[in-house]
């Protein structure tokens, strides 16, 4: 039978080979860095709502896309919001006309609507006024009648004119519907609007703002880039300070940073080959990798310096350090990578590639620890005078010993309290509301304020759509139009709804206009012939956003102020109930509720569930890996409670802060999982190793394990917590919360590891019951 090679022997042989071929390896490393940097140049920053829902397997996508292609994107306009006490002054109207004309000359827009170009239909005495409402030669009387008409028409109220009549919007519709336009196209559209208003000063007393959905996405995209310019230096600063504190020497900082930097460059290069943009999820990858990646080099470097201090030659010190730490570092990196790799099963590409990239990055960080670091240790001149953090280490060891002294007499109670806390936190967390936000996810500031003002004055940037489909001509049946009007009436009073429009509005307005302006006649007439005649009169361009050519498809557009996905879900349910009540199926019409308020939000909320299930599956996989490595299911299961507890506490904190579950704060579970298991694995391994070596006194084994693993674990927890806390500097409220929660989780994880894990070890580990773990070594600085 062939003998299985001992991992230590293989590792030693590899290290000797590596150190003999330094120059060649250095060349290969430089080449890999060059190739990675070249690949990284393709990376672009981009946040788009559609990144989360625009993927082939999304069953809701075809109808949503079809509706967009058919009828455009009613909430996707670039909006020039003009506020003035008197909008109807000639100077303001002239300004609106001028900006409308300027925007219309830009090919990026297909249609530009404003109060000065709007077409409508109303009665003026015995006359029916139709076509363009405001004309240059309009007399004051006509102007008053137009104002009165606009102020009560659902087609224009809160679309072009605010309820108080003091704000108006110029709606510039993009040639590519905004939902499916690229960020570049949206940026061009926003730039065109900025150019238009830069050309002419607004009239005195008027306030002009550019806003709308395209601005949300371009602003988020540029904030992602600006965020990296803050977060990366912030994380690096934290790491440098942590390294300086640990090693008290510049070389310690440079060696560890070099190793993790190479890993980051490799990962960036690999990410570049995916052709994916850096979105809100991917934007946390550099922070995650830098923080996780620097932990292993710290351990190795510390051990290497200890060996040197103990009088080993440089090469021997390298070999011994890696022999002792190579495998534990691999195991902790593997568990972290597995945690993230579980996301490759997610539907949304943005989640899939995020998980894959971090998993690759974590393994790359282990690879650079095993390649770049030994090369540097062998090549770089080390300072003659070295300081260690021994005094601090001794202090930590004393603290841990004191903690253990309190836990030791009552392990059952500690475990009971932990279990109770876990169950309570789990119960509360299970009732946690899932709610993502689009506008609310924007960095706080002018852009968010402007979008909120747009929602208050005119329309929201989120929309729900009732898509209707039937036989040709079925839409124009009076009963179908009346049913559409009924749905609109039911939903219009909802506080979230800013406006709702459909073909029924055009027919009702025509009916009122041809009935001498009688408000009671603002309804869909019962005569099919009359409806057909009104529809024939309606301009093609006005009908196009609501009905197709053969009148077999139509939609009701419901524009909504963004209060998050939970509110949108609730509204969608109310809308579905109104649609069910309207009984479109009895009229031969299939009615489906869609829109970005449903399709996009459903996917964002689904990502939250994917992240939670990813955490569960990663957790399970890590337990299985542990069971294999420890050769004990009991030891693997022992690690469950101390690692689940911090996550439960994290969700408890989310609840206490009054925040719903959303992508950013759910991400904390998967981000923390590697850091959480790190300490537990080292503690259990150290205890098991002692038991296997013949130690019969479990208390002593635990005490020794705590003093050898504890300080390193605290350094790790501190670096990870502080590193992730840097996310608190992000412009995005969600990432700020993520930073805070990660720090809380990892600190609590350390606390659980020095209290609950020893208690469980004392209760569950019996000497001489755990053979076969000799290859896992302690990890101590």
């Amino acid at each position: 039978m062939q003998r299985v090679a001992n991992p230590k022997t293989v590792l030693t042989a590899y290290l000797r080979w590596l150190l003999r071929h330094r120059a060649m390896m250095a060349g290969i490393l430089c080449l890999s860095i060059g190739l990675s940097l070249a690949s990284a140049r393709r990376i672009r920053f981009q946040f788009q709502f559609r990144d989360f829902f625009d993927y082939p397997a999304n069953v809701d996508l075809p109808l949503f896309r079809q509706d967009n292609e058919e009828f455009g994107d009613p909430a996707g306009n670039v909006v020039v919001l003009i506020e003035a006490n008197d909008l109807w002054r000639p100077a303001v109207l002239d300004y609106v006309t001028d900006i409308t004309r300027t925007l219309a000359t830009d090919a990026i827009f297909s249609r530009v609507q404003s109060i000065t170009t709007a077409s409508g239909i109303y009665a003026d005495g015995d006359e029916v006024v139709t076509g363009q409402l405001l004309r240059a030669d309009a007399d004051p009387g006509r102007l008053e009648r137009v104002k009165a008409y606009l102020a009560q028409s659902p087609l224009f109220l809160r679309r072009l004119l605010s309820r108080d009549g003091k704000a108006t919007g110029i709606l510039a519709e993009m040639r590519t519907p905004a939902t499916f336009a690229s960020v570049d196209e949206q940026a061009q559209a926003v730039a065109a609007a900025r150019r238009a208003i830069a050309k002419r000063s607004p009239p005195p007393g008027a306030r002009v703002t550019i806003t709308g959905a395209p601005l949300v996405e371009t602003e988020t995209t540029s904030s992602l880039l600006r965020d990296q310019l803050t977060l990366l230096p912030g994380v690096i600063l934290v790491i440098v300070l942590a390294l300086l504190w640990t090693f008290r020497a510049l070389h310690g900082v440079l060696l560890a940073i070099s190793a993790v930097t190479v890993a980051l460059i490799w990962t960036t290069g690999i990410f570049g080959t995916f052709g994916r943009p850096v979105d809100i999820l991917a934007s946390v990858i550099p922070t995650t990798l830098l923080v996780y990646g620097v932990v292993d080099p710290i351990f190795v470097l510390t051990r290497f310096l200890e060996k040197l201090d103990a009088g080993r030659l440089r090469e021997d010190a390298i070999l011994e350090s890696f022999q002792e730490l190579g495998l534990p570092c691999f195991v902790t990196s593997l568990t972290t990578a597995v945690g993230f790799a579980s996301f490759v099963l997610a539907d949304a590409p943005t989640v899939r590639y995020y998980g894959l990239t971090v998993a690759i990055g974590v393994l790359a960080a282990w690879a650079t620890t095993m390649s770049v670091l030994p090369l540097l240790l062998a090549s770089v001149k080390l300072p003659a005078k070295r300081h260690s953090a021994l005094s601090v280490t001794h202090g930590i060891m004393a603290l841990l010993a004191g903690t253990w002294a309190r836990v030791r007499p009552r392990p059952g109670l500690v475990v009971l309290v932990a279990c109770t806390l876990l169950i309570a936190a789990g119960a509360l967390a299970s009732r946690q509301l899932v709610s993502n936000q689009y506008v609310g996810g924007l960095p706080r500031g002018q852009v968010q304020d402007d979008v909120r003002r747009l929602e208050q004055r005119l329309s929201g940037v989120i929309r729900l759509i009732v898509h209707l489909e039937g036989a040709p001509g079925s839409i124009s049946q009076p009963a179908a139009l009346a049913a559409m009007a009924n749905v609109q009436r039911s939903i219009a009073a909802d506080p979230l709804v800013t406006s709702t429009t459909s073909l029924a509005d055009y027919v009702a307005e025509a009916n009122q206009a041809f009935s001498g302006g009688d408000a009671a006649m603002r309804q869909v007439p019962r005569s099919p012939a009359l409806v057909a005649q009104y529809l024939t009169l309606t301009d093609l361009a006005d009908k196009a956003p609501f009905v197709n050519g053969d009148e077999s498809k139509a939609h009701i557009a419901v524009l909504v102020a963004d209060h998050g996905s939970a509110a949108s879900r609730a509204l969608a349910e109310r809308l579905k109930a109104a649609v069910a009540e309207a009984r479109f199926e009895a009229l031969g019409l299939e009615a489906t509720v869609t829109g970005n308020g449903i399709v996009a939000y459903r996917e964002l909320d689904h990502v939250v569930h994917v992240l939670l299930w990813g955490f569960v599956s990663a957790f399970t996989m890590i337990l299985l890996i542990e069971a294999v490595l420890f050769r004990s299911l009991r030891l693997a299961l022992l690690t469950l409670l101390p690692n689940l507890l911090p996550v439960a506490v994290c969700f408890l904190v989310v609840r206490a802060l009054g925040k719903p579950l959303k992508i950013e704060n759910t991400l904390v579970a998967s981000i923390s999982i590697g850091g959480l298991f790190n300490t537990t694995i080292h503690l259990v391994a150290r205890v098991a190793q002692q038991v296997q070596s013949g130690e019969t006194e479990i208390d002593l084994a635990i005490s020794r394990a705590l003093s050898s693993v504890g300080p390193a674990s605290l350094y790790t927890a501190a670096i990870l917590s502080l590193g992730f806390a840097v996310l608190g500097l992000s412009r995005f409220p969600g990432l700020q919360t993520l930073g805070l929660l990660s720090a809380v989780t990892l600190v609590f994880g350390f606390f659980a590891d020095v209290t609950v894990t020893p208690a469980l070890l004392k209760l569950l580990v019996r000497p001489r019951l755990q053979p076969g773990v000799a290859h896992l070594e302690e990890v101590a600085p």
Partner: protein, 265 residues
């Protein structure tokens, strides 16, 4: 005589040659404005005098069609202005609906609409020129031809050949504020001054619509465009206007063009 391109191109070419030989001086170097004047004088849609029975065939991008049948009666009342009354016969829902337009030289046109369900006509006012005529791809501006009459600039560009015919290539910039177009491009046959094709552009120089002539017919010594297709380029919607019966000599009494007459079914 009914002709359509390209199968009857030869007949058209012969006719064109005859026409060209009859008017050598005019065809030598007319200016852009002179060419446009000739186009307008031709009245190739028969909307400024006489009677036509016609159809609009509307098609969406999926090719689904809808047909509007109508009879248009018109007379010149202040040349080049006219009065016209359009009465719809199909589809059944629209049958009996009528539209009366009286063009005025110095003021807005008078327009009246009669919807049989309402049993009375209504005066229609407002800036209608950009609006589509009865849901077709033809706007009121396309039909009233004022953008060719009231121009800011008419430029004759180098002549081109279109469907084997030599054409004048003219660019027209309308003068009216209410014009839906910033610029029009016309390809006018040199031989008979029929506009074979016209393209209208918006202010950002994006082509909005294209009118393509598909068939012409000579009746009572005049050329009529009996089949033309207007395409809205953004949504690939199109409307074919087919003149089935033309009575160019019909003398319509002036008192036919009244709201009261419009209400008579």
């Amino acid at each position: 005589m009914t002709m359509s391109w390209p199968s009857q191109g030869f007949t058209v070419m012969v006719a064109a040659l005859l026409l060209a030989s009859a008017t050598p001086a005019q065809s030598e170097a007319p200016t852009g404005s002179e060419i446009i004047t000739r186009v307008l004088e031709n009245d190739p849609f028969g909307l400024s005098g006489g009677s036509v029975k016609a159809r609009f065939v509307l098609s969406d991008k999926q090719g689904k069609q809808k047909e509007l049948g109508f009879e248009a009666r018109s007379r010149k009342h202040d040349p080049p202005f006219s009065k016209s009354l359009v009465r719809f016969s199909a589809p059944p829902d629209l049958a009996g609906a009528g539209f009366l337009q009286i063009q005025n030289r110095g003021a807005d046109d008078d327009r009246f609409l009669f919807l049989p369900e309402l049993k009375r006509s209504r005066r229609i006012s407002g800036g209608l020129r950009s609006t589509s005529f009865m849901g077709t791809d033809f706007s009121f501006a396309d039909l009233d031809r004022r953008d060719l009459r009231q121009t800011k600039r008419v430029t004759r560009l180098p002549d081109v050949k279109l469907a084997a015919f030599d054409c004048y290539h003219i660019e027209v910039v309308p003068a009216r504020d209410d014009s839906p177009y910033a610029r029009l491009e016309l390809f006018v046959r040199r031989d008979n001054f029929l506009p074979l094709k016209s393209i209208s552009y918006d202010a950002s120089n994006v082509a909005l619509k294209e009118l393509q002539i598909e068939q012409i017919k000579k009746t009572s010594g005049r050329w009529f465009i009996t089949r033309s297709k207007m395409r809205t380029l953004a949504n690939q919607h199109s409307t074919v206007l087919i003149l089935d019966v033309i009575d160019a000599d019909a003398q319509i009494a002036d008192d036919e063009f009244t709201p009261r007459n419009l209400e008579k079914l």
